[in-house]
């Protein structure tokens, strides 16, 4: 398909379920202050003394947000997804009932899906002596449950697709939604991702890889320190982010407020190692996204980095950025907001894409929290620390998502022109 045939794609709504528990403005204001939502999380039913620094949505009340009927028929990851989707839908100026269409779709991402539902089943089986699982287990736990619940609740009859690409899941879901609108297959797509990863098995699995940041009651809030000298790893986070993506002409015709244009999407596979990232693959994804969006290095004012805070991953991403941006790298504003909201795995791409959209629309750049001494292997870009940057004029921003498995997805956003 030639570029000339492609439809432009507008971002017209953003919705979050985040660990601070407030609305989108509250979330953005907090991360602009470098405020961390990470606390020491103890698994509630574990027989071990397992605790990890993590960003938990403790104040999220599914019954209050979604009602009893939806709550009792959904896993926590779907509840996050529904709440974020409703919020984005409202933010896009759409009525909760009657505004759906068979030309509108859902594109969703999750990594571990209904892990908590399976955990409940195993707990019933092994600890409570039950010999069977709830008949709702499949419907609650399946990895497309969130997407389908969103489609049902909002009346979206277009494609309803779910992507599981580890930590790039929801960057891919947004990118693939973008493709569907570009090609005219859908007019509007609710795109994003949700994750509820604080299941015992998931926490233990990440801990076993020795990539979970260290922290106790006092220090958990600053456990995740991307790009910092002496960083010790990532922290898991739960929540969701959704955006309403829309055919540009459709958005204009209905008088929608447009945050920005989703103008590029680059994908690649490192094809080298399951868990060790490779700058060469990342370079290809970043370059593809920027090329599609028609951006040269000097046009990009902000990169929301994948930046998990691991020893191995952070310098590889900085290396990739330096290769792509060349002489412009030293002035390139980069931050990793995972330092504050944690690593949402399959929802990380959507959360960070939403932050990137808000940053571009507000011309403000959030910091990497707790960054005091940039590690020698992460230098060469303009790390944004402290309380971020305000009143910066920039016309484009990108959001990086690099998954285990070597799958890379990069989204490029451009200011409304």
């Amino acid at each position: 398909m030639s570029k000339i045939e492609r439809r432009r794609v507008a971002v017209t709504g953003v919705g979050l379920v985040d660990p601070f528990g407030g609305d989108t403005d509250d979330f953005f204001a907090r991360i602009m202050q470098g405020e961390s939502a990470v606390t020491l999380y103890r698994h509630p039913t574990s027989q071990t003394d397992l605790s990890q620094p993590a960003a938990c949505c403790t104040s999220f009340s599914p019954e209050q947000t979604l009602g009893r009927a939806l709550t009792s028929a959904t896993d926590r990851y779907s509840q996050f997804g529904l709440a974020a989707a409703f919020s984005a839908w409202r933010d896009a100026g759409l009525e909760r009932t009657g505004a759906g269409s068979d030309d509108y779709g859902v594109s969703w991402g999750t990594g571990v899906g209904g892990a908590l539902t399976y955990e409940q089943g195993y707990t019933d089986f092994f600890e409570r002596g039950k010999r069977r699982m709830s008949p709702l287990t499949v419907a609650l736990a399946m990895n497309n449950a969130a997407a389908s619940n969103i489609a049902i609740a909002l009346g979206l009859g277009g494609a309803c697709l779910s992507y599981s690409v580890a930590c790039a899941s929801s960057a891919v879901s947004i990118g693939e939604a973008y493709r569907r609108i570009q090609s005219g297959n859908d007019t509007l797509v609710v795109a994003g991702g949700s994750e509820a990863p604080l299941a015992l098995s998931v926490m233990l699995a990440w801990e076993a890889m020795r990539v979970v940041a260290e922290g106790d009651e006092q220090t958990a809030y600053r456990a995740c320190r991307p790009f910092q000298e002496g960083r010790t790893g990532l922290v898991l986070g739960e929540g969701a982010a959704a955006m309403v993506l829309e055919d540009w002409d459709h958005a204009v015709a209905r008088g929608a407020r447009i945050y920005c244009e989703l103008a590029g999407y680059g994908q690649s596979c490192d094809h080298s190692h399951l868990v060790r990232p490779d700058a060469t693959g990342q370079v290809r994804a970043i370059t593809a996204a920027m090329d599609e969006a028609g951006l040269s290095p000097v046009d990009v004012g902000y990169v929301n980095a994948h930046g998990t805070g691991t020893q191995e991953g952070d310098p590889i991403e900085i290396d990739a950025l330096k290769r792509v941006f060349g002489d412009a790298a030293s002035g390139l504003a980069v931050s990793s907001t995972k330092s504050m909201h944690g690593h949402l795995l399959g929802a990380a791409g959507a959360m960070e894409a939403a932050i990137t959209v808000l940053a571009l629309a507000r011309q403000q750049i959030p910091p990497t929290a707790h960054l005091q001494q940039v590690s020698a292997d992460c230098t060469g870009v303009r790390h944004v620390a402290g309380s971020g940057l305000r009143d910066v004029a920039f016309r484009a921003a990108i959001s990086n998502s690099f998954a285990f498995g070597g799958s890379n997805a990069v989204l490029a956003f451009r200011q409304v022109q």
Binding site: R68, A69, K130, S134, P135, A139
Partner: protein, 81 residues
């Protein structure tokens, strides 16, 4: 029978935002918020309550009255309510 009716009411209150106030034997299950999934779950909970297992080929009730009949029929005789 009353206990079984309360069992259904309790289920509806736990699962619905606006549970019906007046349940009659004629109330249709799909009209009071018990779809096929919910019926599976309700029967599952009932089996746990009485520690019984119903065969897979039981007739599918469509009204509250039929559901109550089923519950009564499969209630173990030693259960004293």
């Amino acid at each position: 029978m009353d206990n079984n009716l309360n069992f259904i009411k309790d289920y509806l209150e736990r699962h619905l935002d606006n549970p019906p106030e007046n349940l009659t034997p004629e109330s249709k299950l799909d009209e009071i918020g018990i779809d096929s999934m919910a019926l599976l779950e309700l029967i599952f909970e009932l089996e746990d309550k009485y520690d019984i297992r119903q065969s897979a080929d039981i007739p599918t009730p469509t009204t509250v009255g039929q559901l109550l009949e089923l519950m009564e029929k499969y209630k173990p005789s030693e259960v004293n309510e």
